[in-house]
């Protein structure tokens, strides 16, 4: 499980970083959300990995009995908070992205095309929808 989780975090973070360094603002938004998934998983991992353990102390579990079977509830609370915040702020980022696209007429992160008239082969022109 450790391997799967660390691979997952690594792939998400790598994809997120790559997307975030791209020139189009929507790619940046996607990169930010992928990175925030990676970070949320990472916070989970910091509470140590357990399988099938409740995060709440009950009658059968608890300190003094068998504390191995209790999951750390603090990281789960942290993830919940971080999740809501990053979700809301990514939504806000999308709104600003759309406003920038509408006002500047370009979806480049700088708000203008780097070389007007000359267009890089990998990048579809933002103004024209692709068929």
């Amino acid at each position: 499980m450790e391997l799967v989780l660390s691979l997952g975090i690594g792939v998400l973070a790598a994809a997120g970083v790559w997307l975030m360094l791209r020139p189009r603002s929507f790619q940046v938004a996607l990169g930010l959300s992928l990175l925030s998934y990676a970070v949320n998983l990472f916070i989970f991992a910091m509470g140590r990995l357990t399988v099938g353990a409740p995060p709440v102390l009950g009658a059968g579990t608890g300190i003094g009995q068998d504390s191995v079977f209790v999951d750390d509830p603090v990281t789960q609370a942290l993830v919940l908070t971080a999740l809501v915040i990053s979700f809301a702020l990514t939504a806000l980022f999308l709104v600003v992205l759309l406003a920038a696209r509408g006002i500047t007429g370009s979806d480049h992160v700088d708000g203008r095309e780097p070389h007007p008239g000359q267009q890089s082969p990998g990048e579809p022109h933002p103004g024209r929808p692709q068929p």
Binding site: V39, V74, T81, A82, I85, S86
Partner: protein, 533 residues
Amino acid sequence: MTPPMTPPALPPSVAWSDHLVVLPIVLPIAVAGAMFLLDDRRRRLKEALSLATLLALVGIALVLVGRTSAAPEVYRVGNWAAPYGIVLVADRLSAMMLALAGLLGLCALVFSFARWGRAGPRFHGLFLLLLMGVNGAFLTGDLFNLFVFFEVMLAASYGLVLHGSGETRIRAGLGYIAVNLVASLFFLIGVSLVYGTMGTLNMADLARRLAAPGAGELALFEVGCAILGLAFLIKCSAWPLGFWLPTTYAAASAPAAAILAILSKVGVYVVLRLSLLLFGAGLSAGFGQGAILVAGLATIAFGTVGILASRDLTRAAGYAVMISSGTVLAVLGTGSEAALAGALYYLVGSTLAAGALFLLAEILQRGRDPVEAAQPVFADEYRDPFDDADATEVGRAIPAGVAILGVGLLLCTLVLAGVPPLPGFVGKLAIFIGLTAGTVTAAGWCLIACLTLSSLFTLMPMVRLGILNLWVPNDDPPPVLRLSELTALSGLLAACAALALWGGPALAYADATMQWLKAPEAYIAAVLDGGAR
């Protein structure tokens, strides 16, 4: 079955004044909540409500400055014991920063009454939410709550940067939001690493665990702290993490830019607080000091070059904010406590002056400022904010406005460039005296040289910009100064002057704050051992 932990019963001796510590957070968020329910066209009511809130916040901050001079006030939310519950701690440093934020906020708000409050929807609510986040960040004693307050503050600041709309603001806002979202992710990684290695997020508890040998996995903990530091250094726009600041602050509307000046100081405050609390002594003493010194020196250098190259006043003000953050960071990096007391004094003076400069710049460059009315989203928004019929009644134009603006610009320049007799000079002098007491290290000489050169190279472009904006004839209509704008400006500049006039008590306060900060045992004991009140 009973739950394992219950909050202890309230002792009968809880005085109402004990709840004063939580008010700087509760009051603005309550009023902001009410504000969002009100129709946006009821502007007078909103202005009155925000003004009353800000006045109350300044009052509370001043009372807290008085009450915390002997011992810190620890507020346990819900009366849960310290490492498990949420604590708010008001000590000398927090109270000082609260007062600074309140004063700057009050003046920026009064300034917005003239025009900017109407430039877009929901200005007052966002403004109060920003202050709630800033106050919370100053008061909290817990790393995760710090994250939450940072996010509240940032979310409100995104709205305020975009306030007034227009292409420049949206383009700057896009970059600002992206940079700060990444910084927040760094913050989360750092916080979770600290929790994973130390098992606590309470700052006092962390400091106590670091004092005992054999605590946690120290190397991983330091990695976590370095990542946390990265997030804070992005916030205080240290070189090379601060290229976003001048563009964003120059694009933001004037009252928003003035209140954003305190935002970068929140980053400085957190670096200061955590360095002195966690790395003053104990297992990882002196951690990160060299990096902070280099970052601070480079920030001063970058800000100075930037201010030399600025062609308008708002950009110059943005670089001035960077220089003031860099100065405090560099002094922290030298590890000289006497100099740090001077740096605290300098921080207050330079922040007030930078805020005043943002306000001044907007009045002087008003003819050139592109303001577009945004497309209304909700029915209650103004269609055309600056062409309102009642826009002319808001404040009477002050005669001899240009002369007053000239004096204001002169005073700002004196503070930012560190020329006597204003607090910029007193602060820098106190830093120099602190650095040269005893043997002077190479870092100390470097910093003295850097600060002296930065003074000279701040003075030159400020004089040039002053001549350009006040004396060179141009086609723009002469600037019109309204009563509320004059009140806001003179409030900030009078605070600067008061800081210089009562320099003795102010420096003594900064000195006592330093004495308190360099002995974190008292802080730790107050938070952890204070017991339920």
